[in-house]
């Protein structure tokens, strides 16, 4: 049995493949989105015609043909409706909560992002065969459990939209974390997530959280180049060269946050984007409006009362009201003992309070949790600075 999902997905992939072949030679069309959908539509009709011919030739298809005739009719009707709906249906089907999250991400990239299976595999650092398996299994689940190929009705949206947004967010993060070194394809994930975010806001212009997510991705991405130094080591927000921030992306992101918040339905992506926007508005680290950031984290904490958000709130309080109050908040958070940033944030507050011994202990704890070499290098340097007598020299 062939679901509509498979057909639409194949057609979309065809369209992306053709675009990859043609655009570099012939230039990018004026409306790339419309070009893709029109091409996908043509490919879909081609595929349907071929299938029909085969059905006629093969008598074994008897009963299935009847099913297919109905399906073709339905598809042809749906072709008349806007093809944008098709892409939206694809996103929601790929991100259906009944599909395992890793597979949601892979499906989305593969069927909407136009990344090939080996590319998706490389982006997620797994063997191609593993990724292919994952996709096959997910597609089988869509078919066998009959996951509907549609945009969920309004009453289901509040429970479905978050998984779509989360998938885009995770795709972005995967690329963002890979900024230091790693395959170029991993960094491309950021652009891919932003492109999909734009698509989602085009298709659902009235969803403030979709706008908020796109704004958040743009604002983070604007700082991407400044996040690492020439040696490829991470640079903290306060030490970043702000002239390397992408002003255009920042103003687009800020405009989006504003228009999202104006709808008066605050959500966690909008608030995170607003926080990122406040950082972007400061000409230098000292100018940061920490009070506003504290207030925003307070709001976020209400919507998302997780230990990590509580930690960020504590860090902001330390900047706004002093390390003593920040540390008291940080110390009241449990469950973060295995979280690197918890210990590095505490180290910083302790250092500011002049409690060097405790700061050192916290840094060593963070060092133990460091996963990659640049994190380790960064933390070791911090310990050395703490140990050197002139620790006020950066």
């Amino acid at each position: 049995m062939l679901g509509d999902f498979d057909l639409a997905e194949e057609a979309m992939q065809d369209a992306f493949r053709i675009a990859l072949e043609r655009w570099p030679k012939q230039g990018i069309p004026i409306e790339p989105g419309a070009w893709i959908t029109t091409t996908a539509k043509r490919r879909l009709i081609d595929r349907l015609r071929k299938r029909r011919v085969r059905d006629r030739l093969d008598p074994l298809y008897g009963r299935e043909r009847l099913n297919r005739e109905g399906q073709i009719e339905m598809l042809e009707n749906s072709l008349d409706s806007s093809l944008e709906d098709d892409r939206l249906r694809l996103i929601f089907t790929c991100c259906h909560p009944a599909i395992n999250q890793d597979a949601q991400i892979a499906l989305t990239l593969n069927s909407l992002g136009g990344l090939s299976v080996p590319e998706v595999a490389r982006a997620f650092l797994v063997p191609t065969s593993t990724m292919a398996q994952r996709l096959v299994r997910a597609k089988r689940k869509i078919r066998e459990a009959r996951i509907p190929y549609r945009v969920p009705p309004d009453h289901l949206l509040p429970e479905r939209l978050p998984s779509v947004l989360l998938v885009l967010y995770l795709i972005f993060n995967e690329g963002y974390e890979a900024s230091q070194g790693g395959a170029a394809i991993r960094r491309e994930l950021c652009d891919e997530a932003i492109r999909l975010g734009r698509l989602l806001t085009e298709l659902m212009p009235d969803e403030p959280e979709a706008l908020g997510l796109l704004a958040l991705l743009l604002l983070h991405n604007a700082r991407r180049d400044a996040r690492v130094d020439e040696a490829g080591d991470p640079v903290l927000l306060e030490d970043q060269n702000r002239s390397r921030w992408d002003r255009q992306a920042m103003s687009e992101g800020r405009a989006l946050v504003r228009s999202a918040l104006a709808r008066k339905q605050p959500g966690s992506y909008q608030i995170q984007a607003a926080i990122a926007a406040v950082h972007c508005e400061a000409a230098c680290a000292e100018d940061t409006d920490w009070q506003q950031i504290v207030a925003l984290y307070g709001e976020l904490l209400k919507l998302q009362p997780t230990p990590v958000v509580a930690l960020n709130h504590a860090v902001a309080v330390a900047m706004s009201d002093g390390p003593k109050r920040g540390l008291a908040l940080a110390d009241s958070i449990s469950q973060l003992d295995n979280y690197l940033y918890y210990h590095s944030a505490r180290a910083l507050m302790l250092e500011r309070l002049g409690r060097m011994g405790a700061a050192r202990t916290a840094l060593l704890r963070a060092l133990k949790l460091a996963g990659n070499s640049s994190q380790k290098k960064f933390l070791r340097r911090k310990v050395e600075l703490l140990d050197s007598p002139s620790s006020d020299v950066p």
Partner: protein
Amino acid sequence: MLYMLLINTDESYYGTLSEEQMGQLMGEYMQFGEEIEKAGVQITNHRLRPSSSTTTVRVRNGEVLSTDGPFAETKEQCGGYYLIDVKDLDEAIAWAAKIPSSKYGAIEVRPIWVMDEDSGGQS
């Protein structure tokens, strides 16, 4: 499309309920039963006796081996099921979420393998 909704619960939970609470739960199930009946999607449903009354049967080398107790000694055991016929997984999930036990147990939604339907395999 047929789906089996398998109700998995920690059986010891029922022992913690007062008579009144148990009555309330039964009332919720009656109400759910009426709703699903009225919607015309239910094929059948059954409540199962506690897992302590289970016998597990295996045949090895032609010999029938019966043992006392369930196949898997897990805390949560299947205590009943609904077999429903609905359009797609979203509808099945919506019904699963209405089963009173979903609030403290877990409902497994399994599509029924209709032999005819998939026999052609993937084309």
